[in-house]
Each structure stands twice: as structure tokens, then as C-alpha cells.
Assembly symmetry: C2
Homo-oligomer: 219 residues x 2
């Protein structure tokens, strides 16, 4: 499928890269070994978005819900997030890490990126949800210091724009707390393949589907 | 498919009954004529839930976004909501209507049901979103008079519980503002058929799919 064949592209894509642990088990590895195999697919997707000219992409790194998992898994997904940022620092992107930094679960190595940082030519906005929690995101608005006129201007993730298309790998059909406010009108496409098996073709299929959807924003 | 064959049922189902206008057009009718054909399917679904013993169901009536549509359509979906409640009043349900009542778009006939009302034996909780708006629901929490410790205890729809399964008719794969907080972990099943073509079999297929999903609540 040619990358020039799309009639209409999303301006902001949300990615739920699920299935790393199931992939590891299928390959006779301990569950926690799967996360490391999720890094390269992320860069393949980043490159695909660059080629297509999609201006913004948000990756679901890990959530506060996820940190209830066994410690060995938690360490593995924290390390995978740090490693991914180290690689991205040598590419052309503008990175914003969003998550609850008031917690030991947030990797301190990623603190410098909680304000947006430009790498290289900064060709694409990349948002990375790290120790993100939907409760944390929404509760933030209740603090009078943060509270604006409208709720959606008051949340912790206010710097992340509305998401047009969410693509989830690993067959689950649910949002699992992914940016509830920005996802209100998002079209939702599910790929059955596990995330470490990512192929650009999966993403092209999502985009082929997306270009046929009507955009009503609830109207 | 027998109704006794489910291993695990959702406790709360959300219903997005989309496709009334497309159905009308396909049948050579004006778009607004479709809404009236959406009432009987709702009662078939209600009866199916009663038989199965599903204790709570939330129907997407109409939204504040929807009220931007042509006046003839707006009047038709408002009337369909009023007519549905009149019929339900002769059944066995406990009805709660949720929506922005501080607006002329809210049908005054439904004001008595904005506190939960028991009809007959009150066998099932039915929540009906009428002139509902996600912005209205979330902004409510910013009013200090409503604001509790946690955001999800502070929203306008606080009396509606977490949704386990959302079923949307009419092929669109998006939430369109349906209870963003209660839908955080909901499994999402899409039926391609338009809502007026509802068959209990569609719902059984959604339940067959749902019973195979794992429940992680984000963990």
C-alpha cells in the first residue's frame, strides 16, 4: 500500500501498544522480557508517521494502574520507557512526557522531558504517557490553582490536543484510561496482532479505515 | 442462542443506538422519521436484559452536541425520548434521566425523572441520557459546591455506576462523548447493523464476545 494513497489523515494519533507480555509468553520468555521488544516497533511507527506527515502522536507508555504489577515487570517497563527516550533523543521529534511525577514510580531520568523538548529538527510532536493515570489527570482540575473556566482546560494533560484516531494492538477493545478527555470523539481501531509483531501495514489498514469515517464531533 | 449460555455477564451495559437517520433514508423516509423506529428496539433490548438478569442499562438518548442538528430532527428525537419514557412507565424499571436541565433543549416532561423513579416492580435500573453533554458532566465538578475529594465523585452523572460493556449499533467505532468517566475501562463492541434493525441476536453476540474478555481494570 503506497503511503500517498490516503485521502485524509488524522492530525493526532493515539497508540496503545498492548500485548508485549503475551508475545513474550508465546516465545517462551518471561513476561517482563516482552517490553524491550516493544521499542523497535515504536520507532517503526514513528518513522511511518514522519513519512506520512502526521504531525502528532501519543504513545501509552505505562499507567499508574500498571504499577500494581509484579516488581520485575514494573522495572522492565520503566526501563523500556527510558531506553525509548534515549533513542528518540537522536531523532527529529518534539517530546513531551506526561505523567504523575510526584511518585517514586515516575523514572527520574525522564523529568527533563515533562516540558516539551526539541530533538534534532523536531519534525513531529511525540507525547509519551509515563506513570500516567486518568484519575491523576482529572483530579488535577479540582485543585483551585489549576481550575480554569472549562474542565478540559484544567486537566493535567492540557498540553495534549484532541486525538483523532486511536489504534490499539493486541486485540482488546477498550481505552483502559487512555486520555479520556482527548479521546471523547476519537475513532478507535483495534489490531489483533500483538504489539511486538507491529508491521507498518497494520497502521496503513487503520488509516484506510479512518479515511472512510465521517467526522461529526458528536453533532 | 440460549440466554442461559453465558459464563459471565456485565453488570452494567451502555447502549449507543446509532443509525436511525441512515435507516430512514434507506427506507425512503425523511431522516427525522427514523427516531420513532428506535423506540421498539429499545424495549426489545430492555426485555432481553430483564430475562438475562442484567441489573443496569444506560441508553444514549440525545446529547447537547446533537441539538445543533436541524430543528425538525431535534423535535423528533426529543419526542422519541418522551414517548419511550411514557412506555417505560408501564413496565418494571427504576428510571433515572440524566442531562442538562438548565436548557430549553431538555424536555420538561422528563423533569420528574431526574431523580430515580420506580415503575412497577422496578426490576432493572435504566439510566437515560437526555440532553446529556460530556462538557456539562465534567464541568459540573469544577463548581466548588459539587467538588468532592475525587473527580469521579464530583461529576453531574455521579449516580451512574461504572460501565462494563458498551454496545454501539450503526458501525461507528467511537464513544461520541458517552459517559467518559464511567467508560474508562469498558469493553466496546460495535454492531454494524443500524439500530432500528436491532435483533436480540446482536446483543447475544456482544455478550458472547464480552464473556471471553479479561477484566483487568487497567492493571
Amino acid at each position: 500500500m503506497s503511503i500517498n494513497k490516503f485521502k485524509r489523515l488524522p492530525r493526532h494519533v493515539g497508540i496503545i501498544p498492548d500485548g508485549n507480555r503475551r508475545w513474550a509468553e508465546k516465545h517462551g520468555l518471561p513476561k517482563e522480557a516482552g517490553y524491550n521488544y516493544g521499542i523497535n516497533p515504536g520507532f517503526k511507527l514513528y518513522e511511518t508517521c514522519l513519512e506520512l506527515g502526521i504531525p502528532e502522536i501519543t504513545f501509552y507508555g505505562f499507567t499508574q494502574d500498571n504499577t500494581k504489577r509484579p516488581s520485575v515487570q514494573k522495572k522492565a517497563f520503566q526501563k523500556a520507557c527510558i531506553d525509548a527516550v534515549k533513542i528518540l533523543a537522536n531523532r527529529d521529534a518534539s517530546l513531551l512526557v506526561i505523567g504523575n511525577t510526584d511518585s517514586p514510580q515516575f523514572p527520574k531520568e525522564l523529568l527533563p522531558y515533562t516540558t516539551r523538548q526539541k530533538f534534532g529538527r523536531g519534525l513531529i510532536k511525540v507525547n509519551f504517557l509515563v506513570n500516567y493515570g486518568w484519575k491523576w489527570d482529572l483530579n488535577y482540575a479540582l485543585n483551585p490553582a489549576n481550575s480554569k473556566k472549562n474542565f478540559y482546560e484544567s486537566i493535567a494533560s492540557v498540553d495534549i490536543s484532541r486525538v483523532d484516531l486511536i489504534v490499539r494492538w493486541g486485540s482488546r477493545r477498550r481505552l483502559s484510561g487512555f486520555l479520556p478527555v482527548q479521546s471523547i470523539y476519537a475513532d478507535f481501531y483495534v489490531v489483533d496482532e500483538l504489539w511486538p509483531n507491529f508491521k507498518p501495514e497494520h497502521f496503513y489498514q487503520a488509516l484506510k479505515w479512518y479515511e472512510e469515517q465521517d467526522i461529526t464531533l458528536g453533532g
